[in-house]
Amino acid sequence: MAARVQAAFLQDSPALLREVLTADGTIPVSLPEPLSLADQLSREQTYLVFDRIFSVFKTTEFTADPELSTLPGSPGMILKARWSFRNKRTGVQYPLRRLYFFIVPVIPPPAETGRRPVLDFKIVEIRAEKL
């Protein structure tokens, strides 16, 4: 999971990120300045928002913590990462932000081939704060 999120950010690819976003319900997304966003978005909107972000800002550093933090009394986990980026237009570098991805396990419906479903993880919330 961490590798997939890391690949999405390092490649500035909203399509890769979309694959790990939940399709059930809305995703609370909270990003500080200069992105300045706090809203509940659908998966498609989250994709479009990150498409817009990656078209303006290029990731210069993204390091995901290898260990996930568990949430007591909940099946979810938190993936922590550090993210810094540069404005492609102005060249202004924005120092590290702390990113939190709230992840929940998802069991997909059984496949028609009769294979056992494989446990997958999806992001249900994205939060960021300045370090």
């Binding site: 978005l41 659908s42 498609e44 498409d51 817009r52 102005t90």
Partner: protein, 379 residues
């Protein structure tokens, strides 16, 4: 009547062609302007920084002068004896109670009467400091939580009473949101990166004094490379010459300036082309042959132009000035489709309008087509 319609249609075509010529001129300008901007960029950028620093200093001096002018409204000789009689005088002084304040204080700095946004000098300032400030005169800054006030004390003579004049200089909250925003009485200069540190009168600014004495009251940073970001660090002083704030101005790098200029020219170019295509569209769809259903060519040309207009509007959402507008943000509304045709509320609206326009074009042509043409093949 047909003659007038012909003239108005011809006007549409002429206006459309004129806009295309204008678009070409903007295109040529976008090719030549970067060269003009790049010439002596460092020198021009430094000169602009110095001009802006002078403007910021003037603005700061104007705030101090306004506080002095306010003191002149309350000459000690004609001030009333009773505290309650001060309030009508304060409320008639034309202050903005959200940003300014005035207080009558006793000799110890305790409030007796006040109007607007004020602090209690007795609570904020030590007795010793209060006496010194009264004696020295001049304005000074007080930081109280997230707010910075510009303050001037005006002794009234009788029994150590004084008026304390306040103006809010800044509000710098730790947490910012749509409801909690940073405020500065000094306007943030457009086109520059600007940061300012306010120094409470109790803070030691002697080090800054020595530093600026060595650098003619402003320090110019040396950019690492040519045409890079330049910075100017300078103090803001009160009427007595004491440093009250230090400001840093940074000019954009040439790359950033060129990008911004190109984006503005691109925006103008796109808007002109959209206007030109819209006029041409009106020209074709007002053709009598098309409206009577006898000639499909103008309708087809108009339909192509309508699609062109929609495609021309697509890159608008990529421009920085446009992106920040709420109606162009996918967070408000949007869903995935080809080339972002429905990526924002405006995109959804324009795409729907285009589909509606194409449907209307088809309907007009099909329904107004004479019957002999409609059934010609069947017969």
């Amino acid at each position: 009547m047909p003659g007038r319609r012909f003239r108005s249609r011809r006007t549409l075509l002429v206006a459309s062609l004129a806009l295309v010529v204008l678009a070409l001129l903007v295109g040529v300008l976008s090719l030549t302007l970067p060269g003009l901007l790049s010439k002596d960029y460092d020198a021009k950028s430094l000169a602009a920084l110095r001009r802006q620093a002078a403007r910021t200093r003037q603005e700061f001096s104007a705030l101090i002068a306004a506080l002095e002018a306010r003191q002149a409204l309350f000459p000690p000789a004609v001030m009333p004896a009773e505290p309650q009689d001060f309030f009508p005088l304060f409320s008639r002084a034309g202050l903005d109670p959200e940003r300014d304040g005035i207080a009558l204080c006793n000799g110890d700095g305790f409030l007796e009467t006040w109007y607007g946004d004020v602090l209690s000098p007795a609570v904020q300032i030590d007795r010793e400091d209060l006496e010194r400030q009264k004696k020295e005169g001049g304005s000074f800054l007080i930081r109280s939580k997230a707010t910075v006030y510009l303050v001037a004390l005006q002794p009234l003579g009788n029994g150590g009473r004084m008026l304390a004049h306040f103006t809010r200089m800044a509000f710098i909250p730790q947490v910012r949101s749509t409801h909690i925003r940073e405020f500065h009485a000094l306007r943030l200069p457009a086109g520059f990166d600007f940061s300012i540190d306010y120094w409470d009168f109790r803070e030691d600014v002697e080090g800054f004094g020595k530093f600026f004495a060595r650098h003619q009251d402003q320090f110019t940073g040396e950019p690492r490379q040519k045409n890079e970001i330049q910075t100017l660090f300078f103090p803001l002083r009160n009427e007595k010459g004491r440093i009250m704030a230090t400001a840093t101005l940074a000019s954009p790098s040439l790359t950033s300036r060129l990008t911004a200029t190109r984006e503005v020219l691109r925006l103008i170019l796109l808007l002109i082309l959209i206007a030109a295509a819209s006029l041409a569209l009106a020209f074709f769809w007002s053709s009598p042959g098309f409206l009577r259903g006898r000639n499909a060519v103008p309708g087809l040309a108009g339909a192509v132009l309508l699609i062109v207009v929609r495609l021309l509007a697509l890159p608008l959402g990529e421009l920085e000035k446009i992106q920040s507008l709420g109606l162009f943000q996918p967070a408000v509304a949007g869903f995935v489709s080809w080339r972002g045709l429905t990526g924002s509320p405006v995109d959804i609206f324009l795409t729907s309008l285009t589909i509606l326009g194409l449907a209307a074009c088809l309907a007009v042509y099909a329904l107004r087509r004479p019957k002999r043409f409609r059934f010609a093949r069947r017969g």
